[in-house]
């Protein structure tokens, strides 16, 4: 049997090597899975990880990559702050939905007015919607000590019901001939989240995501609040001794995630999504959890991880269409990645040792 021995100092090498190792292991084991499904594993892995970047039509796929990565990064950064502080908001999906619905409602309420301020107002409304939705678990946690994991997750289902109501009811396109879904924002210039540079996929969401990543990195490494976040997660009693108010921390972290997720939802609804529909939510809120861990809960790492995860989405749907790979296999692939990541993480803080020779002698 191998034995684990705690390192006196966390290994800096493994801190950054573990995500790479996890991706490599996922490719190997995922390849085996694809082989079991009857596909050529090498071709599948190449289709997912290589073709979108360098294959035919790479220009289109690279834009897609940016489009998918932006919401993942935005949400994951907020989540990572919370996870670092030991606050487990896993309902980002709900905050994303509510942000989109609230933001879109603001835009649609003034349709078809044309004004430069409409889109910024919608972004703010989206952030507010996500923030308010996240305040529910935050307030319940701080006032009643209610478990935020369960509450935030339950609220995803509630948000989905509200989304259905919006798509079929209060936001339904009056000129949509009875079809479900809101007006399409692509035909409402004042509220449209367009490509800033034609055909690059870079919309306001992408710009915001990158800016937020840098700001979060600075906050986490240089600012007192960042120190409090890290401290609260690693040593809660030491955090109280330092003077961290758990209440303020919960409100800050949940609120931040909610606002970022809400913005992501709004950017999606007004940009790539185009409208509020019943199945507008695509699981970004959950995938962002993987992104947060893959990025080592570090904002800059999350940017890389966001693109990595976007690659599995884009490459996955490419493999789906060209190789008839089942859509669910990408979800499996992503789940596997998270498992490997959590598993190999042990190397950061522990050394793997064989028991010493003498002890084996004693057993003999």
């Amino acid at each position: 049997m191998l034995r684990l021995e705690k390192r006196p100092n966390p290994s800096v090498f493994w801190l950054w090597a573990t995500p790479v190792l996890a991706v490599a292991l996922t490719m190997v084991v995922g390849g085996l899975l694809f082989a079991a499904l009857g596909s050529n594993p090498v071709t599948v892995i190449r289709t997912i990880f290589w073709d979108p970047l360098f294959g035919a039509n790479a220009g289109y796929f690279r834009a897609q990559l940016l489009i998918k990565a932006a919401p993942l990064i935005l949400i994951a950064i907020g989540l990572a702050m919370g996870f670092r502080a030991g606050i487990w908001n896993i309902g980002a999906e709900g905050q994303y939905i509510i942000g989109a619905v609230v933001g879109a409602s603001v835009g649609l309420a003034v349709y078809p007015t044309e004004n430069r301020l409409i889109f910024p107002a919608m972004v703010l409304a989206g952030a507010f919607g996500g923030w308010a939705w996240a305040m529910i678990p935050a307030i319940l946690k701080t006032r009643f000590n209610t478990n935020e994991i369960l509450v935030s997750l339950m609220l995803v289902y509630v948000a989905e019901a509200i989304l259905a109501k919006a798509a079929l009811g209060f936001l339904r396109n009056p000129e949509g001939m009875g079809f479900p879904g809101s007006r399409n924002f692509s035909s409402y210039p004042a509220a449209r989240n367009f490509d800033l540079i034609e055909r690059t996929g870079l919309h306001w969401g992408g710009v915001t995501a990158l800016a937020v990543a840098v700001a979060a990195y600075v906050l986490l490494t240089r600012h007192g609040i960042g120190f409090q976040i890290r401290l609260a997660g690693q040593a809660p009693r030491a955090a109280r001794f330092h003077g961290v108010s758990p209440t303020r921390l919960v409100v800050f972290c949940l609120g931040l995630t909610g606002a970022l997720a809400g913005m992501a939802g709004l950017f999606e609804a007004t940009g790539p999504g185009g409208q509020i529909t019943e199945n507008f939510a695509s699981g970004y809120g959950f995938t962002a959890i993987i992104v947060a861990f893959l990025g080592r809960l570090n904002p800059l790492g999350i940017v890389l991880a966001g693109f990595m995860m976007a690659l599995t989405y884009v490459g996955g749907s490419l493999a789906e269409s060209t190789m008839n790979l089942p859509a669910a296999s990408i979800q499996v692939f992503q789940g596997m990645l998270l498992f490997f990541l959590l598993g190999v993480d042990v190397l950061t803080n522990y050394r793997v040792r064989r028991p010493s020779g003498a002890a084996k002698g004693a057993e003999a």
């Binding site: 007192g224 120190f227 009693r237 330092h242 003077g243 004693a362």
Partner: protein, 490 residues
């Protein structure tokens, strides 16, 4: 890491054998091997002449080896009987077990109610649970790991009485301690360990405590020097402070009042679990109280949080180094910022001045002789003594008016403990008011000017240390907790 090398000793039935050594001398690892928790890499053990190498504690127990732990072997939410059952190989039904617990505890004068939850018991009573658990198995060898650190002097007497009775009945007892006077009073033989090696074997009654101490430490010891500063004004005044405990099974504070003057060292004695942690939390600001209950230089600070109190001139050092006073996985620099940020001006507009924090950290490392590869290593990488020196330095170097310390030298080797005590006295000499909470009576008698006892959340009236007798202190500490029954019975 080698904790022990080439250790040899023997114990005869009926013998009380001391294993003496400083913290980190390898005593715990040695007894864990005897109890089957750790496997030795080399060497042999014999029990009754048979080769003995237990693979697990169950095997050790079956062969008649029992152990009373210093920490971590009771389950607070479970009952006394359940706790006892967990330590036995084939426990009888709980009802029968309860009867046997009553019988054994009566026989040895250790009253216990099998139905009570362990979390509600005092430290001394908890130890009784452990001892009864061992006695029920009729052990041939009983291992006691630092048993008196949680007892009042009176309770120590009762424990010794029990142990002598057991020895007379033929049980061999391995008694681990670093308290020399106890060993001289109780033990027949002593094996002295230093850095995992046996340095001497002796008969404690024939040696002086000083001789044994020097064998144990490997150097001659010097007592800290004190220069009594003139008392200044009252720096800290606590008036009728009552607070519920935030700790599960903790002790509430009940009407605590005292004053502390500049240049004074006030020692707070008491058995663990009588409100020490709560008192520290209340003073550090982690627990809030009515504003006027705590006054710092006349200013009410009871409602302020830790950072505001630090800014006002009060610093505190909790007992638990790993997780309370320090974040184990963070670097020394980050841990320095943890409490020194406010007073040392390490923050500018909310942003942390890391270079300045590093300079402060390096200064503490230098001034307090902290052995570390550098300020960037994680706190958990330091040995207990070194980390304690660093944490003491972090608080003492901030030039605060009032310093509150819980267990300044707990689990620290003698040399480091001496250095820390000297630094505390130096702070008092420059006019700081110091409150030291400790369970080590010798330590308090050495450094404190005045002395008080925390017992069940109540603080006795402070008295000058000079002229204080030990049995007086024992009575102040509450005598023998929960032993009234026993006194009547005998």
């Amino acid at each position: 890491m080698i904790a022990n090398s080439d250790v040899s000793f023997t114990i005869a039935p009926g013998e009380i054998h001391a294993l003496l050594g400083e913290n980190g001398a390898g005593k715990s690892t040695l007894v864990k091997m005897i109890y089957g928790l750790v496997r030795p890499d080399q060497g042999r053990m014999f029990l009754h002449g048979e080769p003995y190498l237990p693979a697990k504690p169950a095997e050790a127990r079956r062969l008649g080896v029992a152990m009373v732990f210093q920490h971590f072997s009771l389950f607070e939410a479970l009952s006394v009987a359940e706790n006892v059952a967990l330590g036995m190989e084939n426990p009888p039904k709980l009802r029968d077990l309860a009867a046997r617990i009553r019988a054994v505890s009566a026989e040895y004068g250790l009253p216990l109610d099998p139905g009570r939850r362990v979390g509600d018991l005092s430290a001394g009573e908890r130890q009784r649970v452990e001892i009864v658990r061992c006695l029920l198995q009729d052990p041939n060898l009983l291992i006691m790991d630092e048993p008196t650190s949680v007892l009042t002097p009176q309770e120590v007497e009762i424990l010794f009485h029990t142990l002598r009775k057991l020895a007379q009945q033929g049980t061999a007892i391995l008694y681990i301690s670093h308290k020399l006077e106890e060993i001289r009073a109780l033990c027949d033989t002593a094996t002295i360990l230093r850095r995992g090696r046996v340095v001497a074997t002796c008969t404690p009654r024939e040696r002086s405590a000083r001789e044994m101490a020097e064998l144990m430490v490997g150097a001659s010891l010097s007592a800290p020097e004190r220069t009594s500063a003139p008392r200044g004004e009252v720096a800290l005044a606590v008036t009728d402070l009552s607070l519920a405990s935030p700790i599960p099974f903790g002790t509430p504070l009940r009407g605590v009042s005292f004053t502390l003057s500049e240049g004074e060292v006030l020692g707070v004695a008491g058995v663990a679990g009588n409100g020490q942690d709560e008192l520290l939390l209340a003073l550090s600001g982690e627990l809030r109280s009515p504003a006027g209950a705590i006054r710092l230089m006349g200013r009410p600070v009871g409602a302020l949080g830790p950072q505001a109190r630090r800014a006002a001139g009060l610093v505190a050092a909790p007992e638990d180094r790993y997780g309370h006073a320090a974040a184990p996985d963070m670097s020394l620099i980050e841990n320095a910022y943890l409490t020194a940020g406010v007073r040392m001006g390490l923050t500018r507009r909310g942003f942390i001045d890391w270079p300045k924090t590093r300079a402060f950290t390096e200064a503490v490392i230098r001034d307090y002789d902290v052995r570390t590869p550098g300020p960037d290593v994680a706190a958990r990488a330091l040995s207990g003594g070194n980390l304690q020196k660093f944490l003491m330095g972090r608080e003492l170097d901030q030039g605060a008016k009032v310093i509150v310390i819980n267990q300044p030298t707990w689990g620290v080797d003698a040399a480091a403990a001496g250095a820390i005590r000297q630094k505390i006295l130096d702070c008092a000499a420059r006019g700081a008011a110091v409150l030291v909470i400790s369970q080590d009576l010798d330590e308090l008698l050495e450094i404190a000017d005045s002395f008080t006892v925390l017992n069940e959340g109540r603080l006795s009236a402070p008295r000058p240390v000079r002229g204080l007798q030990r049995d007086e202190i024992g009575l102040m500490m509450g005598g023998a907790h929960g032993m009234e029954e026993a006194t009547i019975a005998t």
